[in-house]
Symmetry: C2
Subunit: 501 residues, 2 copies
């Protein structure tokens, strides 16, 4: 398909007069307002992405939407160059941060397509890097959509001649001259490159099954009507019929994973270490960690530690030994419990994206996003399709991190059932530790085998070289603590080599 | 009072052996854990601030607290140099951002006292600037405390000789040598200056009625016991007895404000403007605004616009005319409705601090913090003491902004009762505008006189030169829109003069 052909059939080609538009306005507004009311109670958000040619009416469209809709349910986000804080995270970070909650509409201008496009047009990034970015964007949009978001992607178009006429028209009137932004003519000069790169976007989006609505941007009322109708129809359709993602049956899933299971069974949980050796190695590792953290800061490398394990496996104790080797300014421990109401109203990864460390820092998750395939799977809080696709989503999430100067170090601390019982009982004997054991812990214990399977699957499916699981034999606390902190040091060292080269 | 005397009587002077500490541990942990449980259901947060001499055990103390308490109810925040994003806001911004919710404990290291102290010790800031900062800190702590927070301020102390011994001790053992941070000896060399500035902190805090607990930092177990007891006692006392702030009676308040009321009565609400003049002036102002915004960006000046007014006064319409003159990347409109559950569990100003623009940007509040002295006062959502002290708190909040390269431009749009009725009825006739009129709007209308008084008081008490109220005659929409946008331009221009000089 030639470049231009992606845009040839754009809608809104016939000129609609103001009068005709106004005649339809009342009914259409009414429909949209009513749909927005229904949306408020729904369990999904709407994300409208605007892109296209300058002068084709993107801003005017956003103003109209803000005018027509209830502002308490709409937030508009327009992005400029990533600032210092944004630059220290993966490019998607700011869009995750600005994700709408369920029932809300987010409008996005100059968002995730814009910077890659600009970079490509100005040749500040290679074709290859551009195509990789488009793949990442597809993964981003897929997980949003899979987890419920209604995406509406609108491309407002003008051809080269039309854009020139539009810019001339604005420039010729002293009252609108200022609307021609600095650089507008330069961009126009790069129109052909712009079309070429835009066609790649069109192609990539179409192949991913999330095509753009291409709108002819010549006529004010025509283009607005097309967009407003599209939003109305998309909302109506989605509210009438929720997607029903397919999942494997329990049997089919087990069959698929059968060959990969059993890794926990092979662990020798009772490995021991002498007290004196423990003390010496711990001290040494803390010292080494302290130095590594300073080197990481210089190298702009951030570190994420993930701790998972059964109740009473010793996550907290291991974390406390790690942080003893870190400056308090340089780390943050994030305990993960059930999501708050606000967190629950967002994509399940939203709360983790929000906590990503800036360059040079360490963030420690005491439990993590893996809750999706552990507790949420076992307890049925996530439906089958949701936890089954989560493995890929979490791999992609971590890939975003490891691609962006971040070490991701994941620990599964394993104890056996007898050891857990011993620890539960010991905790119940110590008055000030009783609160740590709840009825829920006893209930979880009854589901030990289901958790074993879930952990097996997790390790099998989310174990890339760039962010591997470290299985920690946990029956002996000294052993597990030393293994954890020494592994953190090794992985940070490895990270420093990778990211410095 | 001489410098040293602030620290002479510090608690924890007697050396407690490990064994004696361990003998008390069980009961004390139990007490703290139980108090934390009670706290979870309480309507206030706890903020523990640690400061003092390096080597006196601050970090160890924080580790113990994190070890003992339920981590889901504790967050620890340690700060380094303000980063690029933090630098673009008032110094308090990052502490407001990290405020704990009710029922939570926030632990603060290297926080709001640290940077001013360091600056003073290194002579990178004048005595005068230092004292001003201490005043700001007092205002910050006062509003936290007045709105419920339990503040526990702990100063861990060592005298000059003790600190030298401590540093030498750590340095002499290869296993702890790394714990002596770079710069530690240099700081020790500045000990006398450090004491001098610290004494100012002690004095300022004491005079403000929020003194420090000074703890002798020589002995590990002694110092820990003192801090843990202090936390226990403070929690116990606060949970047993909520503060009962005094408020003026309605009569006394009215008497106090009587002379200042009546400003709304003097407004000529029906001023008109020709359609052609309206169009020309609006276009011209939008163009001017566009240029001012670009100059503001260069100057690093941010702008906050606050819109208040009766229901249907025309806030939304005025805002839309303003943003038409701005790049979408450069502004954000924040509609303020009733607080979410999360917002409600924080200081009422928390959600506004979170939205402060970075340098060069415009943030528009459609309703604002003034809800505290309008709807919350009239409807009784805030108790008398709360709204009565809010005037000062809001003045101080805005002062933080105007001191930090920010223009604060506040509009009260006034319509009369007949005009409101006309607009309500008009809205109800247009199907797609009916949703804008709710039962609440009709109820508010019945309290018109109470709102009039509240607005009078608000304008009288929060009208400093640096952030004055602009009263907008709103019966005629053209008039009010032109007045709003032209005022925005004037105030930005004035701001550019001030902040460029």
């Amino acid at each position: 398909m030639s470049d231009a052909s992606w845009f040839e059939d754009s809608l809104g080609k016939e000129k609609l007069e103001k009068k005709a538009f106004k005649a339809m306005e009342s009914e259409l507004r009414m429909e949209l307002v009513e749909l927005q009311q229904q949306l408020r109670g729904a369990n999904f958000p709407v994300m409208m992405v605007f892109a296209g040619v300058d002068g084709a009416g993107k801003h005017e469209m956003v103003n109209t939407l803000n005018d027509w809709m209830d502002p308490r349910g709409v937030s508009t986000h327009a992005y400029e160059q990533p600032d210092a804080v944004e630059q220290q995270r993966p490019p998607e970070w700011r869009y995750w941060r600005d994700l709408p909650a369920n029932g809300q509409i987010g409008i996005y201008l100059s968002a995730w397509y814009s910077r890659p496009l600009l970079h490509r047009v100005r040749r500040t990034r290679s074709e290859e890097a551009f195509l990789t970015r488009l793949k990442r964007i597809n993964a981003f949009e897929r997980t949003l959509e899979d987890n419920g978001a209604l995406l509406v992607k609108v491309w407002m178009h003008l051809d080269k001649k039309q854009q020139r006429l539009r810019l001339e028209e604005l420039s010729s009137d002293p009252e609108t001259e200022w609307e021609v932004k600095p650089g507008a003519w330069e961009n126009w000069g790069l129109y052909d490159r712009f079309m070429q790169a835009s066609s790649e976007i069109m192609r990539s989006s179409k192949e991913a099954g999330r095509p753009w609505l291409v709108v002819d941007g010549r006529y004010e009322y025509s283009r607005q009507l097309v967009v407003l109708h599209a939003l109305r129809d998309a909302l109506r359709e989605r509210l009438a019929k929720a997607p029903n993602p397919k999942a494997l049956t329990a049997k089919a899933w087990d069959k698929k994973l059968a060959a990969k299971r059993g890794i926990l069974k092979g662990m020798k949980l009772d490995q021991d270490i002498e007290l004196s050796e423990y003390k010496a190695r711990l001290k040494q590792a803390q010292r080494r960690l302290y130095q590594l953290q300073h080197r990481a800061k210089e190298a702009g490398m951030s570190t994420i530690l993930v701790f998972e394990g059964q109740d009473a496996a010793g996550k907290g104790g291991a974390i406390r030994r790690v942080v003893k080797g870190l400056d308090a300014q340089e780390y943050q421990v994030i305990p993960i419990a059930a999501p708050t109401k606000e967190e629950f109203a967002h994509h399940y990864l939203w709360r983790f994206w929000r906590h990503l460390p800036k360059e040079g820092r360490v963030t420690i998750f005491d439990r993590s996003w893996y809750g999706r395939v552990l507790v949420e799977r076992v307890e049925g809080f996530a439906d089958d399709a949701a936890w089954q696709r989560a493995f890929q989503e979490m791999n992609e999430f971590e890939q975003r991190l490891t691609e962006n100067r971040c070490v991701v170090c994941k620990f599964w601390i394993q104890i056996d059932k007898q050891e857990q019982l011993r620890r539960f009982e010991a905790r119940q004997e110590v008055p000030y530790k009783q609160w740590k054991i709840t009825d829920e812990d006893w209930r979880n214990r009854e589901k030990w085998d289901a958790y074993d399977v879930a952990v097996d699957d997790m390790v099998a499916l989310t174990n890339p070289k760039s962010a591997p699981w470290v299985l920690v034999e946990g029956n002996n606390k000294r052993w597990s603590r030393v293994k954890v902190i020494e592994t953190v040091c090794e992985q940070m060292e490895r990270g420093l080599k990778t990211f410095s080269s």
